[in-house]
Amino acid sequence: MNDLGWIDAVVAGVRPQVMGALLRYFRDLDTAEEAFQEACLRALRTWPQNGPPRDAAAWLILVGRNAAMDDVRKRARHTELPDEAELSDLGDAEASLADRLDGEHYRDDILRLLFICCHPELPATQQIALALRIVCGLSVGQIARAFLVSEAAMEQRITRAKAKIGNAKVAFETPGAAERAERLAAVAAMLYLIFNEGYSTNLAEAEARAPLAEEAIRLVRLLLRLFPTEPEIMGLTALMLLQQSRAAARFDGDGNVILLEDQDRNLWSTSDIAEGLALIDKAMRHRRPGPYQIQAAIAALHARAECAENTDWPQIDLLYANLERLQPSPVVTLNRAVAVSKVKGPQAALDMIEPLGARLQGYFYFHGVKGALLQRLDRNDEAREAFRRAIALAHTPAEAAHIRQHLDRLSS
């Protein structure tokens, strides 16, 4: 067994808590990061001999805090701090004190750490990059690969983002209930952004971006443990797990996207599905529906269908209707139209999406759906026109290739 690999996993697991606590002590991101780095170095030196401490987070917080204050104390010619090798476990009185103190702040520390990454002046990609760097501890190189940019460009992006939040005022007092709820909603939205960034539309990218989806799931699970009674956080966790469950079935041998209805459902991850279904089940008991829960409930209906023909489209149509009410958007209506086409036929669906044309003019998926509906109504010339528009708007060769298959079928 490679000891260092296991230490890495322990450190990665407690990183958000430790960074959150160090940020509260030092109120400065760079100092907190340096303190964390130093604590990790010392852990790598002492843990292989002493074994990992029972409470790794408390150990790293204490050692990190001491390490950052070390310089100051040394300069002041104070006595040396006790060697952390002696702090191997929490039998140590000082460590258990740190543990108690931090336990009370635990939840708000992590929430704050995530929240500072959601600064509204930061564009989404910078929020994500910053969260991956600070909260998850991914290296700049890893993040650069996931975003398909050079390491230098990513380094610059993160430095700029940090400078921006450095100038912003972040409240370090314990937040009130309303503020906590606001932070939670912002953080949830950011985690979903990270997840979607990792949920790629072509195979080559999917491999590079897979860590994003995994980190998002890790963070949303952490968030749910901190806020175990929030149905929307249960919903978001379920949504991510249910979407992630299909990862292995989403591409064919040539790297082309396979649509949900054509996927080999035996490749879906049963453990992700089981966990997603359990969470949505738990969330629904609260009778406080929200957008994440509804989207998760839709994903759950797909997950429950053994084959595409058994999909409960009427129920999916109803859920989309609820989502439209809660969060009106032309994209939601477009998605609902797909369900409507299965329940009431292509004409009803087409009637539903025609009014969206003005707003979804530049949206690839709109023209793809419209083309498919027109094709089913044997309006082939109009279908061809819609497919051509979709191809012109495709973001990836895989998206374009998919539409081209439809066009080919029309011509033959």
Binding site: V10, G13, A56, R218, R221, P228, M234, E275, A278, R285
Partner: protein, 129 residues
Amino acid sequence: MLYAILCYNSEDAIGSWSKEQHAETMTRLHKVHEKLEKQNRIGPVARLLPTTAATTLRKGREDVVIDGPFAETKEQLLGFYIVDCASLDGAIEVARDLAKANPLTGAYEIRPVAQLHESHLPTEKKPAA
């Protein structure tokens, strides 16, 4: 004598394992399982979903359903059931029935089972009386 072995670990750490680390661990555990299976010395083995999927029924004058795992340290684990239910509501119903039979103090943590491996114990095997 039959013994129950209850597994504890940090979900944060396990959630940070790589796929390879997961696979390595499972391979090593399966070797231990197999040896016990061959000797017909292992009963049912269950892997539970994470505590985020847990719900707790706290007994009292009125039972209260709480999201999350059992978190008290003043009570001790005394036993467990594995029941088949269509939904969480069904499992809570069972827990309520148990609470009626054994009311007022204590709690039941309800955790979905992720994987269940069947028993390899001989059917006549009984715990020491």
